[in-house]
């Protein structure tokens, strides 16, 4: 792989957007969970829900701050790395990004202040409304940015004059063919990521014996979510795949490592795709299964990569990322059911004594991140060499910076991001180690360790 300015610009953009997406993925899902905690507290007056809220709102705020600052970087990266994209597709991309800023960013950032620091200053009702507004804001944000991303995957509602895109129908642009699938796939991914995060940290606290009634409620919330959302995600993912096959067959061919067009194509479980030799080495195949999954017919035709000469994505990263995503998805389903089956059979006000489940859950704390990154690599690398599928190549819109400049800033970003990621996880760990404040809700006899006023 040669590090020309184009490759460096792509790597830099990939580094920035990969780091960025980690945090919205958490906040979009976590904010709806916080709203649920808030509603449960308001309805029941059960202090445990209040403690759950005040513990998780801190992690929310930290994640949100990381999302905001890395998001500001993104808003500049379009211009600094891909100025040609805005010059050519600005008529479409601009307003979609604009609506994101206007309808989402300000709403989130403003009401976050009340959500975090306003409990003493506003009524419970207004505090609840603020939480809801932030949750709605994060979801709006996902709506617009996924609409733009989907348009780049499956462009619609446009015309091109002298290489510049113009809008024919905003409705078709916004609700382009892949948008509904991508939107719900990502929202659900966000909820699943948050569900495993809250279960994972709660389980870790149980293992460290710093848990309390709020921790148990949070863990059950996560387990119920995972049990329902993991199968739902597999179903949405399947629909999304059918949509991709229709609109971006080259991407699907790369995901499956299929080189020649065939009917009744076998499913390659594992193997090593080789672009030079145009084959997948050591492939373990299940006959006809790819056709069944992709077309829902035993003998359905699946187009191979060789049909798209000169316009195929890099095969190996797409092929592997897809397997990582699916693998974690299946693991989430199994662990989600295991957790629900175990947790909902025992009384609410008692400790969870299932060390293996606790270990599994805490090992999966950040599993959502890996699945989400892998999923985005599939869809983004899978779109290459296009920036707008079939219409505009990434190489046509890249900025003209020197390799040294790009390499220097790339190293700067990567160094900063590693430092921040380590700090983030360390801060989560630090917050999680404090004994649960909700322990004070237990009758003294039940105490297995002393509540700490300093803790949360």
């Amino acid at each position: 792989m040669e590090l020309d300015p184009f490759m460096l610009a792509r790597m830099q953009f990939a580094a920035n957007i990969s780091f960025h997406i980690l945090f919205p993925t958490i906040t979009i899902g976590l904010c709806w969970i916080l709203l649920y905690f808030r509603v449960r507290f308001t309805l029941s007056g059960d202090k445990a829900w209040e403690y759950a809220y005040s513990f998780w709102v801190k992690i929310f705020a930290l994640s949100f701050a990381l999302g905001v600052v890395s998001g500001i970087t993104m808003s500049f990266q379009f211009g600094t790395n891909w100025p040609g994209f805005m010059e050519r597709a600005g008529n479409i991309a601009g307003p979609l990004l604009g609506y994101e800023v206007l309808t989402a960013f300000f709403l989130e950032a403003s009401f976050l202040g009340i959500m975090l620091f306003g409990k003493e200053r506003v009524s419970n009702r207004l505090h609840l409304i603020s939480t809801a507004l932030v949750a709605i804001g994060t979801t709006f944000s996902a709506f617009w940015i996924l609409s733009l991303n989907s348009w780049m995957q499956t462009p619609a509602g446009y015309r091109i004059e002298d290489g510049v895109f113009f809008v024919e129908s905003w409705w078709e642009v916004i609700f382009n063919p892949s948008f509904p699938y991508r939107f719900f796939h990502m929202l659900n991914a966000s909820l699943l990521t948050a569900a495993f995060l809250i279960m994972g940290i709660s389980a870790w606290r149980a293992l460290k014996q710093v848990d309390g009634p709020a921790t148990w409620r949070v863990m059950r919330t996560g387990a119920a979510m995972a049990a329902v959302l993991a199968p739902l995600q597999i179903w949405i993912g399947d629909l999304h795949g059918l949509n991709t096959l229709e609109h971006q067959p080259a991407k699907v061919a790369a995901m499956e490592g299929i080189w020649e067009t065939e009917k009744g194509a076998p499913l390659t479980l594992f193997g090593f795709p080789d672009e030079e030799a145009k084959t997948t080495h050591f492939a373990i195949k299940v006959p006809k299964l790819a056709s069944l999954i992709l077309t829902h017919e035993w003998d359905g035709e699946v187009k191979g990569l060789n049909e798209f000469e000169g316009a195929t994505p890099p095969v190996a990263p797409v092929f592997w990322a897809f397997r990582v995503m699916v693998g974690i998805g299946v693991l989430m389903l199994l662990v989600g059911w295991w957790a629900s089956f175990t947790l909902f059979r025992q009384p609410l006000e008692s400790r969870v004594e299932h060390p293996w489940l606790m270990r599994a859950l805490s090992a999966m704390t950040f599993s959502g991140w890996i699945a989400v990154l892998a999923g985005w690599y599939v869809t983004e690398i899978g779109r290459q060499p296009w920036i707008v599928s079939g219409l505009l190549r990434s190489s046509e819109v890249v900025a003209d910076h020197a390799s040294a400049t790009l390499m220097g800033t790339l190293l700067g970003y990567v160094g900063l991001y590693i430092f921040l990621l380590v700090s983030y996880i360390a801060a989560l760990r630090y917050l999680a180690t404090k004994p649960a404040r909700s322990l004070s809700l237990l009758p003294q006899a039940k105490l297995f360790h002393k509540p700490d006023q300093e803790g949360v």
């Binding site: 808003s75 601009g94 604009g98 300000f106 009401f111 975090l116 900063l416 949360v456």
Partner: protein
């Protein structure tokens, strides 16, 4: 009415407004960041407390400003951000550091609080200086000759002074006691470099372009424009006077400093806007050449007309909720 004429004009105004609000609002929290090393540990918590509920939203205004540049003037967006690639990258790293330091300093444990406080200050300084550099480079028409670079460097050194003044002014509104007294001293120290920054920007624009010089120094324009420098000078004199009559500041009029600074920033924006108009990049591109397609502008125009007043409305509401003197923040 010719939309292809009016819409770029509307968005140029909206972009100017967003950036002006950004300078005033994020200016004060960046300023407080830079002042942090000069405060005691307790005061640090109070200073952070005074910006806690606001900084996220404050920072969103630059996203809107750059967003409008991108939406309404995609041609200019590409040119400006390509030319300013390095300062933009440096500014972003500064903003990242300070943004996360704000949260980490209270959540990562006391052992690391000192490090995050330092990063908060350093990040604020880097971001402010980089913005100064970008302003300087923009005013000189993105030229990269020695004079241009020297000028950018001068603005990079002096613009942080404006932010420090805004930060002090904010503390005069939100705090009292020893911190209040310190804020008066900090503000006084920043007054001179900030005046220099103002003067440089005002003098440089006509020097860069003879077209701009003609706009300002020919009759009858010169007379009509006179209020801009006059009001600015009066506000500046007012600042000097207020900082030397601290008894007025102490008797509940601390907000006057922020008001005077607002007046100066508004005047500077009007002056700059007048100088540039109708260009968006001096000597290269005018508003209409850089503008996006009219139907795209119209689509986002309706969104802006509806949401911008709502944004201003709830921003005002948030400031009302958190009015009064600041207390150290508690997440509980």
């Amino acid at each position: 009415m010719d939309l292809s004429f009016w819409l770029p004009l509307f968005f140029a105004g909206a972009m100017g407004l967003a950036l002006l609000i950004y300078v005033l609002l994020d200016g004060y929290d960046l300023g407080i960041g830079m002042l942090l090393p000069f405060a005691s540990e307790e005061e640090k918590d109070l200073m952070i407390g005074s910006i806690g509920p606001f900084w996220d939203a404050n920072e969103t205004w630059i996203v809107l400003g750059v967003g409008i540049l991108l939406i309404a003037f995609p041609q200019a967006h590409g040119i400006v951000l390509t030319a300013l690639y390095l300062p933009v990258t440096i500014m972003l790293m500064g903003l990242i550091l300070r943004g996360v330091a704000f949260d980490f300093r209270v959540k990562a444990g006391d052992a690391r609080k000192g490090m995050w406080n330092a990063l908060f200050a350093v990040g604020s300084l880097i971001a402010s200086a980089a913005q100064g550099w970008m302003l300087g480079a923009y005013i000189t028409g993105l030229s990269d000759d020695t004079t241009g670079l020297l000028f950018s460097a001068l603005i990079a050194v002096t613009l942080p002074a404006l932010y420090v003044l805004l930060g002090s002014a904010w503390l005069l509104i939100k705090t009292d006691g020893a911190l209040f007294e310190k804020a008066i001293r900090w503000g006084r120290n920043a007054l001179l470099p900030m005046g220099l920054c103002l003067l440089l920007v005002s003098v440089a624009t006509p020097l860069v372009s003879s077209v701009i010089a003609d706009k300002w120094f020919t009759l009858p324009n010169a007379i009509g424009l006179l209020p801009i420098p006059l009001i600015t000078a009066t506000a500046y004199a007012g600042l000097v006077w207020l900082f030397n009559s601290s008894v007025i500041l102490r008797s509940g009029y601390g907000w006057l400093i922020f008001a005077a600074l607002t007046v100066i920033c508004v005047m500077a924006s009007i002056g700059l806007g007048y100088s540039l108009f109708p260009e968006i990049i001096i000597g290269r591109l005018d508003l209409w050449e850089a503008a996006a397609a009219t139907e795209s502008l119209l689509f986002i125009f309706w969104g802006t007309v509806i949401t911008l007043p709502a944004i201003l409305g709830y921003t005002f509401f948030i400031y009302r909720v958190f009015r009064g003197k600041a207390t150290a923040l508690s997440y509980d």
